[in-house]
């Protein structure tokens, strides 16, 4: 049975309103970036101590989620799960849109965004940052080819190899993104090889949550039928990924807690009288992991699409908070130049570094998110990303309700 893909009509007031809203947020984000670049970074909360701030929290979150969003397509292509096959195109679109939004933030926060061309022409091949630039560009290329193979009958033979390649590429990419932090030898909150795989696990959870939200919204707002089978599969996938994230977070912190040198930073992040401990337990663990997991599996909320939306939103919020704890909290803990000795100086040695995020930083971050959603909204109107129907008998002709 062939499934019909069609562009959305995109003429309703709701759709145009959505575009206007996202465009407005994006414009605010771009304005904020201009303001920060024009004045210099002193107008932000970032300092010589907290060198990466809220823009990086949003950027890294989106970049990590991007690779995870491709997961739905990969499951169909690489692991031959037919049910996911018709969502592959949307999965690819969400993936590249998330990556573009994240990179937009990252570039606009540079001290010299005007030198993007320098970053593209001068490569230090030992730099994991430079590897990531190659990985990001490669991801765009790989997903474009993958989408082409999915959307053009003539490119069909490429479908399997392109899907496998994109899957392998995305694993490497997210490992690379995690390793941006994992390879920082001198910072006690980082410097762990586990960060690579931990970010891969997080990407699965964040990407699946965002994909679920986009899918449910698209079908609800266009009135196209969406069967329970697909929704249930996405729900279960999200549940498994949340458990995986929990596992890696546990391993990461237990490994750190075992090392005497890191007792200080772990106590600071997990049990300190500070914002990061609160954000870790309430934001990352409770809002981002425990509550959504409970919502996915408790009898009262398990089958409900409404609660799946809430759970997915919580995973996204928890994910952003996790990035805040990782990126800002990790920098707030001072470098220990002279282990065992108390340090002090006019350059804030030996003290917890404060960080007061500014409004423009948040606006730039939200602008990146808006750019992502705008790309998706425009994408589904311009090209045939969405199937007309994802009913159970469409996605799985052999499906019997009792069998699942």
């Amino acid at each position: 049975m062939s499934v019909e893909f069609r562009e959305i009509e995109g003429k309703s007031m709701g759709y145009l309103g959505l575009l206007a809203l996202l465009g407005g947020i994006l414009a605010l984000g771009l304005g904020a970036a201009y303001y920060m670049e024009h004045n210099g970074h002193w107008v932000t909360g970032m300092t010589n101590q907290i060198v990466w701030g809220v823009p990086h929290v949003f950027a890294v979150f989106l970049i990590v989620a991007a690779t995870g969003a491709l997961n739905v397509a990969s499951v169909a292509t690489v692991f031959n799960r037919h049910v996911y096959k018709y969502m592959g195109r949307l999965s690819g679109l969400v993936a590249i849109s998330l990556l573009a939004g994240g990179l937009m933030i990252l570039v606009l926060d540079l001290g010299h965004p005007d030198r993007l061309i320098v970053a593209m022409t001068h490569y230090n091949f030992k730099s994991i940052f430079a590897w990531n630039m190659i990985l990001y560009n490669g991801f765009f290329a790989a997903v474009f080819v993958y989408l082409w193979a999915m959307m053009d009958r003539n490119a069909r033979p490429l479908y399997k190899p392109a899907g496998i390649f994109a899957f392998a590429w995305r694993i490497i990419l997210t490992t690379g993104t995690g390793s941006i932090f994992g390879f920082l030898i001198a910072r006690e909150a980082y410097n762990s090889a586990v960060m690579g795989p931990m970010f891969v696990a997080m990407s699965f959870a964040y990407g699946t949550a965002i994909f679920t939200l986009v899918l449910l919204a698209s079908y609800a707002w266009t009135g196209r039928p969406l069967g329970d089978l697909v929704v249930r599969r996405l729900k279960n996938m999200l549940g498994i990924f949340l458990v995986t994230v929990f596992y890696f977070v546990l391993v990461f912190h237990i490994a750190s807690l075992y090392v005497a040198q890191r007792h200080g930073v772990e106590e600071f992040l997990l049990f300190g009288d500070n914002i990061y401990s609160t954000l870790f337990w309430v934001g990352q663990m409770l809002i981002g992991l425990v509550v959504p997991f409970a919502l996915l599996y408790l009898p009262g909320t398990s089958g409900s699409r409404f609660w799946l939306v809430i759970a997915s939103l919580l995973v996204v919020i928890g994910g952003v908070i996790q990035m805040y704890v990782t990126i800002i909290g990790g920098q707030a803990w001072p470098l220990d130049l002279f282990p065992g000795l108390e340090e002090s100086s006019s350059f804030f040695d030996g003290v917890i570094h404060p960080y007061h995020p500014s409004l423009p930083e948040f606006l730039l971050g939200l602008g990146g998110m808006a750019a992502t959603l705008l790309m998706i909204a425009l994408g589904v109107k311009i090209l045939r990303f969405l199937p007309m129907s994802l009913e159970d008998h469409v996605v799985d002709p052999q499906h019997h309700k009792a069998a699942d």
Binding site: N48, W52, V118, S127, L341, E343, F348
Partner: protein, 256 residues
């Protein structure tokens, strides 16, 4: 000999001569440069000749002699036009005096900390564009023309040695110390002075304040066994900050 054979012979000679010429043009300058390099002494390298690794510049800090007067800090920031904007958290600091206190014994000391000019600098490793670089003589610098301001080097530096320029610089720029909003900077070991055969500003200021006997800073060539810095290190030893990271720093400390 047929005409064809004659042309072949001619070609062979021409090619042979050409090869010899190319070899001569490419190898000879190298040979000459090498000869000059071996003859060179620290501080008197002609400015039109590339830096080489016949020297490794280093600093020795004697924490026992440092009284925290901060003359080195003032001299450094004056010579490079680094000024405070009244915002300590974003103001650049190329060198700072760090006060240390032993929690158990209460023993206190102070010492200047700046870029440690590592042999294996993490900032150079992580820099995506290659703006962070190490000269052949061991001085770690930032190429302001290709620094994109990503600050990854600041994340990677174990010594908190780098600063980001958070604002436009007006009237602070000096010709020998180019700086710019949106780029990262740090101690250059006064590269412009060293190339002219002078000592770094901090070293000079320390000696001027405390005299030859009392000075806490010594600059010199770590590769030259007869240099003052090498002699001092041989006699009294020296430590590296975070020696466990095995970065082989160019800045060494005594008394820590």
């Amino acid at each position: 000999m047929s005409n064809e054979n004659r042309i072949d012979t001619y070609r062979r000679k021409l090619l042979g001569g050409g090869a010899a010429l190319v070899a001569g043009v490419t190898i000879a300058p190298g040979v000459i440069l090498n000869t000059v390099a071996q003859a060179a002494k620290p501080g008197d390298r002609p400015l039109d000749r590339p830096v080489d690794d016949s020297v490794r510049w280093g600093l020795l800090v004697d924490a026992n002699k440092c009284d925290g007067c901060e003359k080195c800090v003032t001299a450094c920031h004056e010579t490079h036009g680094v000024k405070s904007h009244g915002r300590p958290e974003t103001d650049a600091q190329w060198i700072r005096v760090v006060k240390l206190r032993d929690r158990k014994t209460g023993y206190e000391q102070q010492l200047p900390v700046m870029c440690q000019h590592c042999k294996h600098p993490p900032c150079v490793d992580v820099c995506p564009t290659g703006a962070s670089m190490k000269r052949a003589d061991g001085i770690v610098l930032v190429d302001k023309h290709i620094c994109i301001g990503c600050r990854y080097c600041m994340m990677a530096c174990p010594y908190k040695a780098r600063s980001f320029i958070h604002e436009s610089l007006e009237g602070e720029q000096l010709p020998h110390a180019p700086r710019g909003k949106g780029t990262v900077e740090s101690c250059t070991m006064c590269v412009y002075r060293v190339d002219n055969g002078q000592q770094p500003a901090c070293v000079e200021a320390c000696a001027a304040e405390h005299g030859e006997e009392g000075k806490a800073l010594i600059f010199g060539d770590l590769k030259d066994p007869n240099s003052e810095i090498s002699q001092q290190l041989k006699k009294y030893g020296g430590k590296q900050i975070r020696a466990d990271l095995k970065l082989d720093t160019g800045v060494r400390y005594q008394g820590i």
